[in-house]
Symmetry: C2
Subunit: 282 residues, 2 copies
């Protein structure tokens, strides 16, 4: 393993290892207003939700590593404590990226990006009309982590309300990841488009305790065919099937000739037939 120790590498190098590792990151496209009334838009990926009750999101506007200056977004929230966080989908990612450069403070990134400002309900900063979810926030507290180049300023925000474009909802009025089509930030120039084939579904009700790897028979646990992901799905079963259940599960199963039990089990797991796979292996 490569060991990276802060202080023994440059801040820029450490920064890139952190960005490449702590990924993918949600993008906070922050809309604020300056004391002189200029509307500002800037993207931040040191951002996440942190609580539902009270609903709280946090982002950081960091000191620039190059010259230790601070950004307009930070000045604006320090002055008036209001921000609208707009989520970034694939359709607006290039326009968002346009605003990541350092335009002078008196320039509105709404004009530069061509995005449409619309009035918010609870705060002065505008929402981005094209954004699929717009979150109106009041800043609760700003925690300055340090005054050194690269230092973060945690901007802790109370969520006042969310506006969700109905087009991103499924039939049950829940957000559909394919429809909302969000972009996440990775290291360097990389982003991830979080929709389509990249989406995986893993359903684990917190109340159902899986038997765990320690309860899998050794012949299964030490399989040369089954991967950790395969075994984990077997280990998530709430119990090992007993003899009668095994007979039931295997009754309709066609034997695959010239193929080992573990290969067949692997295919059953991939097809979602995890309990049948377990029965076959016992």
């Amino acid at each position: 393993m490569l060991k990276i120790v802060p202080g023994k590498v440059s801040v820029s190098e450490l920064h890139q290892y952190l960005l490449g590792s702590v990924s993918p990151r949600p993008i906070c496209f922050a809309s604020t207003i300056s004391e002189s009334g200029v509307a500002n838009l800037a993207p931040y990926s040191f951002f996440n939700a942190f609580s539902s009750n009270p609903p709280t999101v946090v982002f950081s506007s960091n000191r620039r590593v190059a010259d230790n200056t601070t950004k307009d977004t930070l000045h604006n929230v320090q002055a008036n404590g209001e921000v609208v966080i707009n989520m970034v989908n694939h359709a607006i990612v290039q326009q968002m990226a346009l605003s990541s450069v350092n335009y002078p403070s008196e320039v509105s990134e709404f004009e530069k990006t061509g995005l449409t400002p619309i009035a918010s309900d609870e705060v002065k900063p505008f929402r981005v009309k094209e954004s699929p979810v717009q979150i109106e926030c009041r800043v609760r507290e700003i925690i300055e982590l340090a005054k050194s180049p690269g230092a973060g300023n945690l901007i802790i925000c109370d969520v006042l309300c969310l506006h969700v474009n109905e087009e991103v909802l499924d039939d049950e009025a829940k957000i559909d990841p394919h429809k909302i089509d969000l972009m996440g930030r990775m290291g360097r120039a990389f982003y991830v488009r979080a929709s389509g084939d990249a989406i995986h579904k893993i359903h684990r009700p917190v109340t159902v305790l899986g038997i765990g790897f320690d309860q899998l028979p050794e012949s299964v646990r030490l399989s040369q065919v089954l991967t950790g992901n395969d075994l984990a799905q077997l280990a998530a079963l709430p119990a090992l099937p007993g003899p009668q259940r095994i007979a039931e599960l295997l009754s309709g199963l066609a034997k695959v000739e010239g193929n080992g039990k573990h290969e067949q089990a692997k295919q059953l797991i991939a097809a979602g037939k995890v309990e049948v796979a377990m029965a076959l292996l016992l």
Copy 2:
């Protein structure tokens, strides 16, 4: 737009709208040790990096919405202030998901998930051997946002060191998103696999100011063919090309018959020939 106002919907509903919107989220697979010596593993997606200098990551271990109880990870970091954050790639995502259920405190999730504990350099909690990046941390501060069900506890961590598996590095020793193959958390049962075709590259040096949408000719800005993403790439050019440069750019360009200028420009932009597209449109 659907407007969601905290207090007017249930905490669970609000929680799901936040999770579906603030996505994709990096996964903190937190390894801690209890006062009685039990090794604990649990995943958290209210997590991100927030600063490079001092290197700081923050995650939240929230009160359970169902019964307002707190989790073992929180008890452990309150007791000894040490945690190892292991990043989750596709190869271990099912094993990680196994640990998201509520096993009793005396059960070690290392045994249940089959993942391998290895000693850390600076702290007592184990690293997860199979994880591509392991981040040893000391807790600087815990901020309790409230005592209500769903309330977050911000666990602010100083990064002591990172261990990076060399297999995820490219030729320049930088983290390659395709090799590290990280998983991000979305709403409900959804995850995103952040590698392969899902990865997009957008290069925007912060020192190069794009001309912006406001400097694009109206015939371009109001195009019925070019999307916001297309226009943003034109608007990211540092200047509009002059007559001589336009002639140069267009000299080798084959005319596409039966196809409008905007269609041809769109194809050029998709092929990365943004300045040629601009020349064609002027």
